[in-house]
């Protein structure tokens, strides 16, 4: 994460003057991730717009696409496999899953009132 020059603004031990800032080679990982995330997004949109599949099939496929999207984001952009220092990211990631599950499952549970009202 230290390839961006913003990051090391401060510790005086970080870089000595005159030392060149290390720029990565061509960011293939990001380009592939970007294209994949666009493809996955438009695939989901296409599935909904075309209405070629029955409703249940559409819902199942866009959930699968969403999980793939999540993996693309985590592995190609969010450096999940890189590590240095403490395991803060594991804690943060667990909290992210906690929030995601709470929001999705909670909303589904709360909105079941519609069937009982109808």
């Amino acid at each position: 994460m230290t390839t961006h020059s913003d990051v090391h603004a401060t510790q005086d031990t970080a870089i000595a003057p005159g030392q060149p800032i290390n720029h990565e080679k061509f960011p293939w990982k990001h380009i592939v991730g970007y294209v994949l995330s666009l493809v996955l997004t438009f695939a989901a949109l296409g599935l909904v717009l075309s209405s070629a599949l029955p409703l249940t099939a559409v819902i199942v496929s866009i959930v699968i696409l969403a999980v793939l999207q999540l993996l693309v984001q985590l592995f190609l952009f969010m450096h999940l496999t890189e590590r240095h220092g403490s395991a803060t990211h594991i804690l943060t990631l667990s909290f992210a899953f906690f929030v995601a599950i709470t929001v999705v499952a909670g909303s589904a549970w709360i909105m079941t009132f519609r069937s009982s009202v109808a």
């Binding site: 961006h4 020059s5 913003d6 990051v7 090391h8 603004a9 401060t10 510790q11 005086d12 970080a14 870089i15 003057p17 803060t88 943060t92 909290f95 992210a96 906690f98 929030v99 709470t102 929001v103 909670g106 909303s107 549970w109 709360i110 909105m111 079941t112 009132f113 519609r114 009982s116 009202v117």
Partner: protein
């Protein structure tokens, strides 16, 4: 074909004309003062292009004060309308607009930026850092917030204000019942400001995790830094939900989708659900930093270290977890069923436990302490009982069956004003008086500060305590007038007197600021309050690079040990030769980017897609330009550091 509201683009009405004139006069005044004193270049170089966290913090606080004034005026208009029965000071429509903008502005454009401003000012200094992790992003955060707030406020004179409440519930806020541009302003203004807040959350999180001075372990951080860390996590997980909800409603309003509509399979209650999934963590986002400020102040002014530090940390983490599992308590009356309401009622009551732990820790910190009653401490002391009253009524509201009675009554209004004023605003005032010397190099006047404190405390209770009573008597929120003979009239008059009292009280603060800038004694020690954390170890105001030598931390209350520990030599910063300090360059791009967003979103508000597209293209161009900028940082030379340190008497 032009949209129908194009014909009345400029809002009419006598108060609006007054506002128009005032806006034009103020703008002319600012422009002519800047031109007369030849300050344009200074403004651009020192402030608009700055990436210095301290200056960005001050700009946040300034903007938040302007919004406080606007939101406060809305509040006074509402209280004037409700002072007597059958009043016709405001029409129903006008009243709707005023309470909508009052709520939205006070929470999103006053409370949040005030706290983010204080975090910007104090947090990097407290962890011994030289700036936040991403200074350029910090500037983008500020300018997107600023232009988001300006866009929202523009609705007052151009196009018309939103009028569906700060919660903007559908279907009322949908395109069918609310065709005008007002709700579009709400959606785009909030989305723009939300972008900045999200970036701030990421920025602060990375700063706390990665930028602490050597030796400052997590459990040695000042409590305000802990509260910043937890707040950042809440921002990162809550704000995307708001962004999604606002965008979906935008699709409904602009592109005719039916996500939240009554027909075509839309789910209006889904908006309410999504809004509060963000909305409840949001109230913790605005209270946790205030808890942090309070912990700093109570420790400092009791001359003791904070009682129960690990319990304080644990309770904040517990609050963060719980804040994501309580959101239904905002809409028990939707009727989601006994199981759902019981679950969320119980989870809400659970929050009282960690909060109670914090209250007792503050009390025990003061116990046997040598308390100094300076202005920051007065606000902190008033915070505790006020917050407890607000919190206890919150537990009452959490009882789902009883909530069917309290829901949307003035009882609720009283509750959340006790939390947001008695909690957040008292905390903010405490923090402003406390860190004022760090920001500007002098204390605010104590005498005027006490006037401000006592008048505000009394008026605040006079305004909101009767609201509990009228709420129980059946007065509901958002009603624009009421008939006589219901027993509400006297209490409402008292509330209005209290509201104007708060307005007058704020002038004491204004006078205090002006007086102190002119006459107050300058603080040359850097340690105005005999403080405990690292921000007091540098000069007031801190130099651009914060610390000539990065401090090394051996304990909690690092600065206290440097001053008073038995073997203090061990704790003090070792004198070494200075080394050049690596700092980020200023940039005008964040300001331009905020402005481009403003133009774009203004276009989208009126569905002028060409304007919207051009603005967005400018945003992308600026991002593209940034990607190829390599000259982003510089070194402050040893001579310059020596000079700066010598001028402030520290060489």
């Amino acid at each position: 074909m032009l949209p129908h509201y194009f014909n009345h683009l400029f809002v009419t009405g006598i108060d609006i004309y007054i506002a128009d004139v005032l806006i034009i006069l103020t703008s002319l005044g600012i422009v002519s003062v800047l031109t007369y004193f030849k300050k344009w270049k200074w403004l651009w170089r020192e402030w608009l292009t700055t990436v210095d966290h301290k200056k960005i913090g001050i700009m946040y606080i300034l903007a938040a004060f302007a919004m406080f004034f606007r939101g406060g005026m809305d509040g006074l208009m509402m209280r004037t309308q409700l002072a007597v029965p059958n009043n016709h000071f405001l029409s129903a429509q006008h009243y709707d607009e005023v309470f909508t903008t009052h709520g939205t502005i006070m929470i999103l454009f006053m409370a949040m930026p005030m706290l983010i401003g204080l975090i910007n000012v104090a947090m990097p200094l407290q962890i011994g850092a030289r700036d936040v992790a991403f200074p350029y992003l910090n500037a983008i955060s500020f300018w997107t917030f600023f232009f988001g707030a300006m866009l929202f406020n523009l609705s007052f004179v151009i196009g018309g204000s939103p009028d569906a409440g700060w919660t903007s519930y559908v279907p009322l806020a949908g395109p069918h019942f609310n065709p005008g541009p007002g709700e579009n302003y709400y959606l785009f203004g909030l989305n723009l400001a939300g972008l900045g807040t999200l970036a701030s959350g990421i920025n602060f999180l990375v700063t706390v995790i990665r930028m602490r001075a050597p030796g400052m372990t997590l459990m040695r951080m000042p409590m305000f830094v802990w509260s910043t860390l937890i707040t950042s996590i809440l921002i990162i997980f809550a704000f995307p939900v708001l962004t999604v909800a606002l965008s979906l409603l935008t699709f409904d309003r602009l592109f005719g989708s039916h996500i939240f509509s009554m027909t075509h399979g839309g789910m209006p209650m889904m908006w309410v659900n999504l809004f509060w999934i963000w909305g409840h963590p949001e109230v913790y986002i605005v209270i946790l930093p205030a808890f942090g400020i309070l912990s700093e102040i109570i420790g400092t002014f009791s001359g003791k270290k904070l009682f129960g530090y690990p319990a304080m940390v644990g309770s904040q983490i517990t609050i963060a977890f719980l804040s994501f599992v309580v959101w239904v308590h905002h809409f028990f009356t939707m009727g989601a069923g006994a199981a759902v309401n019981s679950f969320f009622g119980v989870s809400t009551m659970l929050i009282a436990i960690p909060t109670g732990v914090k209250v007792f820790n503050w009390l025990f910190t003061m116990y046997k302490g040598k308390i100094r009653f300076n202005t920051p401490m007065l606000w902190a002391l008033a915070f505790i009982p006020t917050f407890v009253v607000g919190g206890m009524t919150g537990v009452m509201l959490a009882i789902a069956p009883a909530d069917y009675q309290y829901h949307n009554s003035y009882f609720l209004i009283a509750h959340f004003h006790y939390m947001l004023i008695g909690g957040t605003v008292f905390g903010v005032f405490a923090g402003l008086y406390y860190w004022w010397p760090k920001m500007f190099g002098m204390k605010l006047n104590e005498r005027l500060g006490r006037w401000h404190f006592w008048t505000f405390m009394i008026s605040f209770n006079l305004t909101f305590l009767p609201m509990y009573l009228v709420g129980l008597m059946g007065m509901t929120r958002r009603m624009y007038t009421y008939p006589p003979g219901l027993g509400w009239s006297h209490l409402n008059m008292l509330e209005t007197i209290g509201a104007f009292g708060q307005g007058i009280s704020m002038t004491f603060m204004l006078i205090n600021i002006v007086w102190s800038f002119k006459y107050a004694e300058r603080d040359v020690t850097g340690d105005a309050w005999d403080g405990r954390a690292l921000e007091w170890s540098t000069t007031s105001p801190a130099p651009e690079y914060n610390f000539a030598h990065v401090p090394v931390v051996y304990s909690r209350d690092a600065f206290w040990d440097m001053k008073y520990s038995k073997n203090k030599e061990k704790y003090q910063v070792k004198e070494k030769p200075y080394r050049p300090i690596h700092m980020p360059n200023n940039s005008g791009r964040p300001f331009l980017m905020g402005f481009a967003f403003f133009i774009s979103f203004f276009g989208f508000v009126f569905e002028w897609y060409l304007v919207g597209g051009i603005g967005l293209a400018a945003v992308f161009y600026l991002m593209f330009q940034r990607s190829f900028e390599y000259n982003t940082d510089h070194y402050i030379s040893v001579e310059e550091i020596e000079h700066t340190e010598a001028v402030t008497g520290r060489s």
